[in-house]
Symmetry: C2
């Protein structure tokens, strides 16, 4: 167990040194390493299962909820999933080295921007052990070293996965410090890590709101985070009713426990009387509980009253808050007040209303006539996802490989000076 | 004077409300406002001079250095400069609303990214009153509201400038809260502002290292900063000597007090014996003091010894540290160890060496055969500059209008759902 801030600083420093070597690797070497990592995980599955069994036993002894135990358990399917994800990352376009915005200035210097790795990325996560290999793969492909700090529940599983990945790295010449497992789950050690701003370039916390707030409040390193997803579906007066019900069902019922699921439906008053009864029938059939405003309850007397808290709630379950709005402006104001700047959807056939909705709603993903469930790195075409940001800085929305890089300016000339020089 | 955190929160909240209106403004309205602001500053110059005279008198009473008084003083030329800068910003391309990376996914949804304002930007600055109108103009053009918190030395000048800008806004329909002057220079009030992470999206501190560290360590809001510029000129074995001397003189002597001036020269050992004596002659002629390593002093015995501190130093004056390096790798390692990731230059005629230098040096601006003094928003073609970032996140290097915006995902479909929906 590593405890002192000095030891953590030493880890971060080694990781930084490794990051310089990773930054220089060719795409071919990185992709070969990703394939080797995938193969090694499959080869080591029994070792990983044995370590995982300890975590699962400890979890049961600690009375973790069945849902938490389920997240923790590794089986053949999940190991194959992890290996498959690494192979997918190998197939993605390498963002490093890409030049863009190249222009020649009047004095003849050529100015462009070159995409470069960030350096060292620290991923702080909770119970899912698959995050270990997913994050390692994405960070490596984007040319970064990664510091992995998983939760105590998955400690043995995470350690076994990293040991397996290190075996694969041995054949590639990539230093093992490029994928660094922090061998402690102590919270004070976490605070120590968050002070290493000279060596760590970015922290991405993944887990519950408590962990994320702790990281955000204690970090000197830039943090990319999202707390929750309170996603809205606004059924405009010019909405296609059938489409609205499809998007409502997909958004609310296809996987209610995820952050891009719908939590609130806003319905324009001009269509509420015809639309809400139809929506109520299908929602009831799918086992969804509605909680509504007074206008909703005038149309659907059986619906329970929605409180102020309901409109702020991320239910993550089969409940939906409903509000009838007077007009477009009230819908947008509601989203502004109660939303989480994650993902919001309008259903409308009006070109004008769709355009102002796209302009006015400040969420990381704004959708017109498409499901909130598309707010996902894979679905948006980013390849894979390292997380979702509702911080507007650097990355906003689902983050793929590109969000793990930055761009520097490259200036090339043939001796240009800013001022005339006389010796 | 506003003191309590509650009052500051109220200010930040009003600024956030105003930011929503600013975000919706058309380019034409913003440009008209910028021209009105420029004209009003010129009209109000006597009022501004009167306020400035109070600051200058207070500064002299407090024994501020002549350099600080010089930064503080406003005169006709500086007012014209401020008005001219606002008119320049009006002429720049508006980044807001730009769509990019538009692709159609296999299921027919169209995914793109739309450039949007950040929201509320807080600029914390010290003595130069021109920052008030420069920052207000850039933030407005990028569709943001701005919270201006200037230094105590320029308090009356800053206040008079903002009052003048507000007169101009009256004719435009833009709320005055879009350019909000925080009427206190108290440091505890600063801490209060830095806690308003629900309403302020970005903090940019501009000033001395003490102020910047204070902001970085006390902010819950993302901060974009740069501490210092320790810029290197590496004279490679394949360098053109005459070009190297031109770039050396431009970088070191054209304006030694700025962050993109050179502080250290690295010279490849193969050319040191011929190059250093020539460089020494011209540097001496320009009044530049050299401090060198042992190898340098073997060639130039009159040169003083450079200490470890010299290689870390941002002299901002006519001194340069010199080191003879064995090879390219030693040069890059030196830059990595002692540099500040600001701006570094190589002089070489070798295509291969220039390419690896561009790849290996992790600075925000990497230049080949061009002066470090081009590391500036205007020179790089960004239009104007709100600051320079040596934080890799969000923006890296000189920051123009684009760095004051972010991008959200826009998804448009015709009813696509992620899963097949049956009612």
């Amino acid at each position: 167990m590593l405890q002192t801030d000095k030891e953590l600083l030493e880890i971060a420093k080694k990781c930084k040194q490794a990051s310089r070597r990773v930054a220089r690797l060719s795409t071919a070497v990185k992709d070969e390493a990703l394939h080797a990592m995938a193969a090694q995980l499959e080869k080591d599955r029994e070792l990983i299962f044995a370590a995982n069994a300890i975590d699962v036993k400890n979890g049961k002894d600690k009375n973790l909820s069945p849902a938490m135990i389920d997240r923790l358990v590794l089986n053949d399917l999940r190991i194959s999933g992890m290996a498959g994800a690494l192979r997918d990352v190998a197939s993605f376009h390498d963002p490093v080295g890409e030049m863009s915005d190249i222009r020649t200035r009047p004095n003849g210097i050529q100015v462009g921007k070159r995409r470069i790795p960030l350096g060292v990325i620290c991923i702080i996560y909770e119970s899912r052990p698959n995050v270990t290999s997913d994050a390692a793969g994405l960070c490596l492909k984007a040319g970064n070293a990664v510091l992995l700090r998983g939760g105590s529940e998955a400690f043995h599983s995470n350690k076994a996965i990293v040991e397996s990945l290190h075996k694969a790295l041995k054949t590639t010449g990539i230093p093992p410090e490029a994928i660094f497992f922090v061998p402690t789950t102590d919270r004070s050690a976490l605070t120590g890590l968050l002070k290493c701003d000279d060596y760590i370039d970015l922290v991405i916390p993944r887990g519950g709101e408590g962990l994320i707030r702790f990281v955000a409040e204690n970090s000197r390193i830039p943090v990319i985070k999202h707390y929750k997803g309170v996603c809205h579906l606004y059924v405009d007066k010019d909405a296609n009713e059938e489409m609205a019900i499809n998007l409502l069902l997909d958004g609310k019922t296809s996987r209610p426990g995820v952050c891009n699921a719908l939590e609130t439906m806003l319905v324009h008053q001009d269509v509420a009387e015809t639309f809400l009864p139809k929506a109520a029938v299908v929602l009831r059939k799918k086992g969804v509980e509605m909680r509504g405003c007074t206008a909703t309850r005038n149309i659907l007397p059986e619906v329970a009253e929605a409180t102020e808290e309901d409109y702020y709630a991320e239910y993550l379950s089969l409940i939906i808050a409903v509000k009838v709005v007077k007009n477009y402006e009230e819908a947008v104001n509601h989203i502004e007040k109660y939303g989480s700047e994650h993902t919001d959807v309008i259903v409308t056939d009006s070109l004008k209303t769709s355009q102002v909705f796209i302009r006015d709603v400040n969420s990381s993903v704004v959708a017109v006539n498409a499901s909130s469930r598309f707010s996902d790195g894979g679905e948006l075409g980013l390849g894979a996802e390292i997380g979702i940001s509702t911080t507007k800085l650097h990355a906003f929305g689902p983050m793929g490989l590109e969000a793990l890089t930055t761009r520097k300016f490259v200036v090339t000339g043939d001796g240009q000076t800013r001022h005339d020089i006389k010796w």
